[in-house]
């Protein structure tokens, strides 16, 4: 096993795209690395700041409408290109809600200009007529995952896009086709807040493994006691079924 491993986590627009407690995802990635003796270097990347070339994992959360306009403009050009290149090369990425939408082709609001995305994911999003608010449980390759959705945007997958999972409780991407989120290589887009990663540690570890494999060719992760995480997962799932 390689010793002295360190990963770089780029938190995209941490101060602007940080509603709904999504920073828990960054905490989960950093803590589960550190608890295993792996260094975690978290860097917030703001408007106008370049993507670090050594990024291993990206996190991109949701923001308010105004912030998303500024971010959409900031991502056009070199910055979006840098994210696409890294993901093509196997970098890990988690995006939620507004971040997810801006990594697709575009987002079309009701009564304003469309916001351009960077086209990393083969998805299109548009403003919908109602707001989907509530607990979500999906079946996925990682087993059942649980989170909380709060979005009026509807996202539709392109022909070749692979969903993150199938909705068991909640509305998901668009409330129609039963899908939630998208997966491309080691990049994920979804509508799951909660925060998502702290109570779905299997997904956190999948992202960490991908990052370690790409950088070190060694994705061994020492086992961690996860009783508290599992209890949080179980209780969130049971609340989801109770409040559906």
């Amino acid at each position: 096993m390689t010793t002295n491993r360190t990963i770089v986590i780029a938190w995209l627009y941490g101060t602007k795209m940080n509603i709904y407690g999504d920073r828990g995802n960054v905490l989960a990635l950093a803590q589960r690395a550190r608890w295993r003796g792996i260094g975690a270097d978290v860097r917030e990347i703001g408007l106008g700041e370049p993507i670090p070339v050594d990024t291993d994992i990206f996190f991109f959360g949701g923001g308010q409408d105004q912030a998303q306009i500024a971010v959409s403009k900031d991502l056009a050009g070199a910055k979006g290109e840098a994210i696409r290149t890294a993901v093509e090369d196997g970098a890990a990425l988690l995006s939620v809600c507004g971040g997810y939408q801006l990594l697709g082709h575009e987002y079309r609001p009701h009564d304003a200009e469309p916001l351009a995305g960077i086209g990393l994911f083969d998805v299109d999003s548009q403003a919908g007529p109602e707001r989907f608010i509530g607990n979500v449980v999906i079946d996925s390759d990682w087993g059942p995952l649980v989170g909380f959705e709060n979005h009026s945007g509807l996202t539709f997958l392109g022909a070749g896009a692979r969903p993150m999972g199938k909705v068991r409780v909640g509305r998901g991407n668009n409330g129609r086709d039963g899908t939630e989120g998208v997966v491309y290589k080691y990049a994920i887009g979804c509508y799951l807040h909660g925060s998502l990663l702290p109570k779905n540690p299997v997904l956190t570890d999948w992202l960490l493994e991908a990052a370690l494999r790409r950088r070190y060719g060694d994705d061994t992760l020492a086992p961690l006691a996860s009783g508290i995480e599992e209890a949080a997962h179980a209780s969130a799932v049971s609340r989801a079924f109770a409040t559906r």
């Binding site: 308010q64 909380f148 709060n150 969130a236």
Partner: protein, 472 residues
């Protein structure tokens, strides 16, 4: 008085009477204080009831809004006004949706449609604010702050700010908007009103924060969109702000607080400068956030003409609203209850509990529910800076429907697992097991969300430790 009674009056009288009957019925059934259903009944019979009653108040109405502190602030205002000899109509139970306000008015009004008071203090929910302002046409609007809160219920902050701004535009030049100028968002909301404006804020550099907390929404300049900077930052994004790009800055303060002395979980003292006078006020509530509430209450009550001496006397006797900060002796343990409902409020409670040593030194129970009134989404727990608790040694117990999420949050805040006590989600069991952890004669802190607080109060009430809140 004319003997003819207009149809409008008949409807008003019927509406008041049925609301009173509903409230009495609910109380007879033992279903609590009946703070909402009577309003629903009254609204059905006469939707204009609230406006008709407030129009008959000789000294008008004060509407209090803001994410945090509105219950405490409106109670301070009501106590001060009562101390000045006015009869006050107030939705004191904290039921602050339109129908809660209507219920409170119906309870106090006479069957003939007299409002039963001289002046009204109306606490309103963020979402209900525009409707309350439209119905009531207040003499004073007091805006405390605007923080991120339960996005599943209120939506995004930008949306609320936009609605408030539109609502304030309807106020005439006789009205006064008293606003927290330390909040750049509220300053923008109040920017173009044609009503009078009174700006209040803090000059308390001794309590300045090192950096913007995670819970704070990054404040941008309303004129040019640049990220704001602060000469001093006090609570969340509240402080002495300025725009490094275009030079916008906090307005000149009409009412300014300074020299804030915080005395643990007990009380505080501060100096308030207003109109060339400088006075010292002592209040029976703790924490910097309550210094803001005090400042707001002093600004509002002095504005409507209450003497400085009366304000001082009333504030010394003031105690906080149910559950917000409350001290209870139960089974020989000294419990302090503090309501937590959003990241900013929770951060300020943690700041208060760790003031002095910088660590938590008392066993603490955090009770998190996810019912509608709490917010269904517990994501907000990840915006609270629990990391400040990592260095202490006291136990941190969790309970409530989302107690397991809370325990997980504490683990990821770097709190050693040996200190995290995940108790059963059932609050009665959680509370009992927590109390067992406290040695007799010692202290414990309990930090519940709204419905968890109601549960805990009911348990303690049933066991004889506290009185029912609607009797306060």
């Amino acid at each position: 008085m004319s003997k003819t009674i207009s149809l409008s009056n008949v409807r008003l009288m019927a509406s008041v009477a049925s609301a009173k009957a509903t409230a009495a019925g609910i109380r007879r059934l033992g279903r609590g204080g009946g703070t909402s259903a009577p309003g629903l009944v009254a609204e059905r019979i006469d939707p204009a009831m609230l406006g008709k009653l407030t129009a008959r108040l000789p000294a008008g109405a004060i509407v209090v809004a803001g994410t945090n502190g509105k219950t405490t602030t409106s109670r301070m205002i009501a106590d001060i006004l009562s101390a000045s000899g006015l009869r006050v109509v107030h939705n004191r139970s904290g039921s602050n949706l339109v129908r809660g306000v209507v219920s409170a008015f119906a309870a106090q009004a006479s069957l003939g449609g007299n409002p039963g008071g001289d002046i009204a203090v109306i606490e309103t929910d963020e979402a209900a604010f525009p409707e309350v302002v439209r119905l009531v046409q207040p003499r004073v609007v007091l805006l405390n702050n605007l923080f991120r809160d339960q996005l599943d219920r209120y939506g995004e902050l930008d949306t609320i700010a936009r609605k408030w701004k539109a609502s304030l535009a309807s106020l005439g030049p006789d009205a006064t908007v008293i606003f927290n100028a330390d909040d750049p968002g509220l300053t923008a909301v109040a920017q173009d009103v044609s009503a009078n404006k009174v700006a209040f804020g803090m000059n308390a550099v001794e309590h300045t924060l090192g950096s913007l907390p995670h819970a704070a929404d990054a404040a941008v300049c309303f004129a040019c969109g640049t990220d704001l900077a602060y000469k001093a930052l006090y609570v969340s994004h509240l402080g002495n702000w300025y725009c490094p790009a275009c030079g916008q800055s906090r307005p000149i303060l009409d009412v300014a607080g300074s020299e804030v002395e915080l005395e643990g979980v007990q009380s505080l003292v501060l100096t308030i400068d207003r109109g060339g006078e400088s006075d010292r006020y002592a209040v029976g509530v703790p924490g910097l956030y309550n210094a803001y509430n005090t400042l707001a209450a002093v600004a509002a009550t002095r504005h409507v003409g209450v003497s400085q001496a009366t304000v001082q006397t009333a504030l010394v006797q003031f105690r906080s609203a149910f559950g917000r900060i409350e001290r209870v002796v139960y089974r020989d343990r000294h419990l302090t209850l503090a309501l937590v409902k959003n990241p900013v409020g929770f951060n300020e409670v943690l700041r208060m509990l760790t003031s002095g040593t910088g660590e938590l030194t008392v066993p603490t129970l955090i009770a998190i529910n996810d019912l509608y009134a709490d917010g269904r989404d517990v994501s907000w727990l990840w915006d609270v800076d629990f990391e400040v608790l990592a260095s202490g040694g006291s136990i941190l117990a969790t309970t409530g429907l989302r107690g397991p999420d809370m325990a997980n949050r504490l683990k990821y805040a770097g709190i050693h697992e040996s200190r995290i006590l995940a108790l059963p989600p059932d609050i009665e069991r959680g509370l009992d097991e927590f109390v067992e952890q406290i040695p007799e004669g010692e202290q414990g802190y309990i930090l519940p969300t709204y419905t968890a607080m109601l549960d805990i109060r009911k348990i303690l009430t049933d066991r004889g430790a506290v009185e029912s809140f609607w009797e306060q």
